[in-house]
């Protein structure tokens, strides 16, 4: 104790106390922030597990399978009426040897899943076509949402036989209606919006 320099010991005790109080207040604020931020939302793996283009009656149809980041909290939220939006983007590019790839077609398909509390049904709506589907359970609704079957995307004539093309599929998911400003403010909380990586495969008609 004797080794403590005199100038340190001569600092007013009030200053030290005040500094300590400030630090504790900051820590409390930080703690409350992190505590509040631990809201339950999207959780888990989100990716395009598989995708392919199938030629049927002269039209390429997209089949895709997604892993959705929905856990129990999201399922609970869905059952309470929180909407879930899915956006599927398909991008087909012609592969060029020395030049950057050139875009051939781009398609964005949006789906909207929401529970109707009056009918106790899950309504899955295709925002592009306006078609909707009524599903009895959240599992059925999520299963329906996670797979795309026979979505016509491209006419066969748009692809030149013998050429090589690259198809990319990516999905974005939005849970709830959290404003973007709030999402930006709480940028470290990744629970309301996710984007998958591009799923890419080569296509050669």
């Amino acid at each position: 104790m004797n080794a403590v320099p005199r100038q340190f010991s001569s600092i007013p005790q009030a200053t030290l106390l005040r500094a300590r109080a400030c630090v504790i207040a900051c820590l409390l604020a930080l703690g409350s922030l992190t505590g509040v931020a631990s809201a339950e939302g999207l959780d888990g793996r989100f990716e395009v597990r598989s995708a392919d283009l199938e030629l049927k009656d002269g039209v390429y149809q997209l089949n895709a399978r997604l892993d959705l980041p929905v856990g129990d909290a999201v399922r609970q939220g869905l059952s309470e009426g929180v909407p879930l939006k899915l956006e599927l983007t398909l991008d087909i590019e012609r592969v060029r040897q020395f030049l950057p790839n050139s875009g051939v077609a781009e398609l964005t398909q949006r789906y909207h899943l929401q529970y109707n509390t009056v009918s106790a049904r899950y309504i899955l709506r295709n925002d592009n076509s306006g078609q909707q589907e009524s599903l009895p359970t959240v599992e059925a609704a999520l299963e329906q949402l996670s797979q795309v079957r026979g979505l016509p995307v491209l006419d066969q004539g748009l692809l030149t036989p013998g050429r090589r093309y690259e198809a990319n599929v990516r999905a974005k998911i939005d849970y709830g209606a959290v404003p973007r400003s709030v999402r930006l403010l709480m940028f470290w909380v990744n629970e309301w919006h996710r984007e998958s990586d591009w799923y890419t495969w080569t296509l050669q008609p």
Partner: protein, 751 residues
């Protein structure tokens, strides 16, 4: 112009240095406040501010960081000054601490309660009553619809039973009839593989009936009727039901699918319930993010407010402490002696009054210092002039402190006492030890008086030196002191030997003149009377008487002659003849005189040591010859009967009182002057020789003084007597430029 530009530049730089950080901080705080306002708006209305939000956040964070860096810098600076014990640092630290505490404590309290209100306020939105109310509403809606749903299902089952017996091709008519009889929107009968067997719709334009879902078909094929409340694409509600045509259950058999409308009012109510429920669910989901956002914004505001408050505390403390720091620095400067310190006037408050008083004080101090310096300079000048006067004074002055330490002594004192008195300055006068014989005698004489109480005295002190008796008139006076304390004494003494000698000489001159006048006149009649008496009575006397008379008259005449000679000598001494100054070579005159003596008397060895560069002097040649004659005669008489007697005459040019003079030194190896007579050898009638008249050296001295010279007599340490005559060069004396030896002149002559 250049200097003016330079001045402007310096002023601008000083202004930037002085107010730069403050202005920056003010701009930063203003920007930050605007950003905070935008941020709070953004949290409430995302659409308008989403685009700006990243920038707002960046500005806020940058502002926060900038302010934090500024604050940390100020904190470190304050800590450094505090440790260094810089003037005003403790006061500043205390002021900052108080201001910060005053500013921070309310902010923290507000922050704490704001957090509480925020959490509780948002939570209160989602109170159980609201949630339960919504649930009850939902249940009520469902119950209201369930009645219809069940009615429609029963209706569908009834229609299905009525159609079950009909063949596929005969279904259309009964089906259409049944639809028209009911409120159904559409009836469709599906066969195997979900093939449409018959359909009837109130929307004839819709060619395609509503599709059956897998769920529906699966349930019906299991033999259970299906009914559900669905929404259509327009947002309205419809009731869909399905029932097998074969009541016994026939998987893969025909199925009646019916779609009934929900009344518009009921549909709208259901839609409202659904919207409310959805909004509530969304709000529930937003609860935590909103809380987090609000807490984040609040924390941002509080943090920045805290930092701004502490920064403001620093600013206020600096403003408050600055005059105090200036005062401390000014006081230190004054303590160092810098009285020209003037402090800038901070304001017209109490501190300003203090600073003004300080400035007035320093002005007065500066004025007082100037006056003191001026007085000091005057005193110094006075002292310097006094020192000059003392130095030029022929009177010796020795000033003593109260403890008899020698304070000062002038050159005349040193010259009179024959020692360098500068060496004893600072020492006690009665403890100084000096080699000087005269000084020791003087010290002994003075010591006896300094010990007495009466320090104001005047006394004649006689000292014995090699050149004779020296008489000093010494006066001691107590130095005055302002406070009346004993501040020392001053000894003033003068060598009055010469004065006394002059007085004696004058007295002897008067005696000689009177003797010449009173005695010489009767001598001639006495002589004549004796000679006449001899001539007259010589012839009439017998031989014996005549012989007696002759002897007597002869004695009278001889004694009268002797008396005449003596009176003539006195007359010569008393006479003040007209000097005939001519320029002549002293060496040559000495040589002539010596040659004469060499021719007459060879009892002593006469040696000459003459300066070959001796200039001609302007003097009375006859009188100078008399000086030489007297001195040589005196030496011969002193050496009479001595074996190896020798006389040396030396000439040289020496400095006396800063002027070149010719010195003629006559030295013999005789018995020397008697020590008790050495101070009076130049007085008349002072002689140690049996035949001397006692006027020889007195006449010599008189002639020397008539020429403006000086004469000294002493006994050299190796024995004998030495007389030193110093003669001024006169007008013709030219030392420089005539330093060539003259032809035929012997530099050293031996006889």
């Amino acid at each position: 112009m250049a200097s003016r530009k330079r001045l402007v530049y310096v002023d601008t730089a000083a202004l930037v240095r002085k107010y730069g950080s403050t202005v920056l901080a003010a701009i930063g705080i203003a920007l930050w406040l605007v950003a905070l306002y935008l941020l709070s708006s953004a949290a409430q209305n995302s659409a308008a501010f989403e685009e700006w939000l990243p920038y707002i956040v960046v500005i806020n964070v940058a502002g926060l960081l900038t302010l934090s860096v500024l604050l940390i810098g100020k904190l470190f600076r304050l800590l450094r000054e505090y440790r260094r014990h810089a003037p005003g640092s403790r006061l500043k630290a205390r002021t900052v601490a108080i201001f910060s505490a005053l500013a921070v404590a309310p902010i923290l309290i507000v922050y704490y309660f704001s957090l509480q209100f925020l959490n509780r306020g948002i939570d209160s939105w989602f109170e159980l009553e609201v949630s339960q109310g919504l649930k009850d509403t939902r249940e009520l809606s469902r119950a209201a619809l369930d009645v219809r749903v069940r009615e429609f299902l029963q209706n569908t089952e009834a229609v299905a039973r009525s159609l079950s017996s009909l063949p596929d091709f005969d279904l259309v008519g009964p089906l259409d009839r049944a639809r028209r009889e009911s409120t159904a929107l559409e009836y469709t009968v599906l066969g195997a593989q979900s093939r449409i067997l018959a359909t009837s719709s109130d929307r004839p334009m819709d060619a395609v009936p509503w599709p059956a879902t897998d769920e529906m078909m699966l349930q019906v094929h299991r033999g259970r009727p299906y009914v559900s409340l669905d929404t259509d694409a327009q947002g309205g509600y419809v009731i869909r039901s399905a029932a097998p045509l074969n009541a016994n259950g026939n998987p893969g058999g025909r199925v009646l699918i019916a779609m009934y409308p929900v009344p518009e009012q009921l549909s709208e109510l259901a839609d409202t319930v659904q919207r409310s429920y959805t909004q509530y669910a969304t709000l529930v989901q937003l609860r935590q993010p909103l809380k987090s956002t609000f807490v984040l914004i609040l924390t941002f505001v509080v943090l920045l407010s805290l930092i701004a408050a502490v920064y403001g505390a620093f600013f206020a403390a600096s403003r408050l402490v600055k005059p105090v720091q200036d005062l401390i620095a000014g006081t230190r400067a004054v303590a160092r002696g810098d009285y020209d310190t003037q402090l800038p006037l901070p304001s017209r408050d109490e501190l300003g009054f203090l600073v003004t008083s300080f400035n007035d004080m320093t002005k007065r101090l500066a004025r007082a210092r100037v006056e003191t310096r001026r007085s000091q300079q005057a005193v110094e000048a006075e002292r310097a002039s006094l020192a000059v006067i003392l130095a030029r004074l022929s009177t010796g002055v020795v000033a003593l402190e109260a403890d008899l330490t020698v304070r000062t002594a002038n050159q005349a004192a040193s010259a009179i006492l024959g020692v360098d008195l500068e060496g004893v300055v600072g020492k006690r006068f009665d403890e100084t030890v000096s080699e000087g014989d005269l000084y020791q005698q003087f010290l002994r004489a003075v010591k006896a008086r300094l010990g007495t109480e009466n320090m104001d005295w005047r006394e004649q002190i006689e000292l014995l030196s090699d050149s004779g008796k020296r008489v000093l008139m010494c006066a001691c006076t107590t130095l005055p002191n302002d406070v009346g304390a004993d501040s020392g004494v001053v000894l003033v003494f003068d060598d009055i030997t010469t004065l006394l000698q002059a007085q004696r000489d004058a007295a002897w001159g008067e005696v000689a003149r009177r003797l010449a006048h009173e005695i010489k006149n009767p001598l001639t009649p006495i002589q004549l009377s004796a000679e006449r008496m001899q001539r007259k009575f010589m012839g009439s006397m017998n031989a014996q008487d005549a012989q007696i008379l002759e002897r007597a008259t002869h004695t009278i005449v001889a004694q009268v002659d002797a008396m005449k000679q003596m009176v003539n000598a006195f007359s010569e001494y008393a006479r003040a003849p007209e000097l005939q100054f001519t320029r002549f070579d002293l060496n040559q005159l000495i040589t002539e005189v010596v040659d004469l003596y060499r021719a007459q008397d060879s009892s002593a060895d006469l040696k000459l040591q003459l300066d070959a560069f001796l200039p001609e002097i302007s003097a009375d040649r006859v009188r100078i010859r008399q000086i030489l004659n007297n001195l040589v005669t005196n030496s011969f008489e002193a050496l009479e009967g001595r074996v190896g007697a020798g006389i040396e005459i030396e000439t040289q040019v020496v400095e006396d009182a800063g002027k070149p003079v010719v010195a003629v030194v006559v030295t013999d190896n005789g018995p020397g002057f008697q020590r008790d007579l050495i101070g009076t050898v130049f007085d008349p009638y002072v002689t140690s020789k049996p035949k001397g008249t006692g006027l020889g050296l007195a006449i010599v001295k008189k002639i020397v003084e008539e020429h403006g010279g000086r004469i000294e007599a002493d006994n050299p340490r190796h024995g004998g007597a030495r007389v030193r005559v110093l003669l001024p060069l006169g007008d013709s004396g030219r030392l420089l430029g005539t330093r060539e030896p003259r032809k035929g002149e012997n530099r050293r002559e031996r006889v």
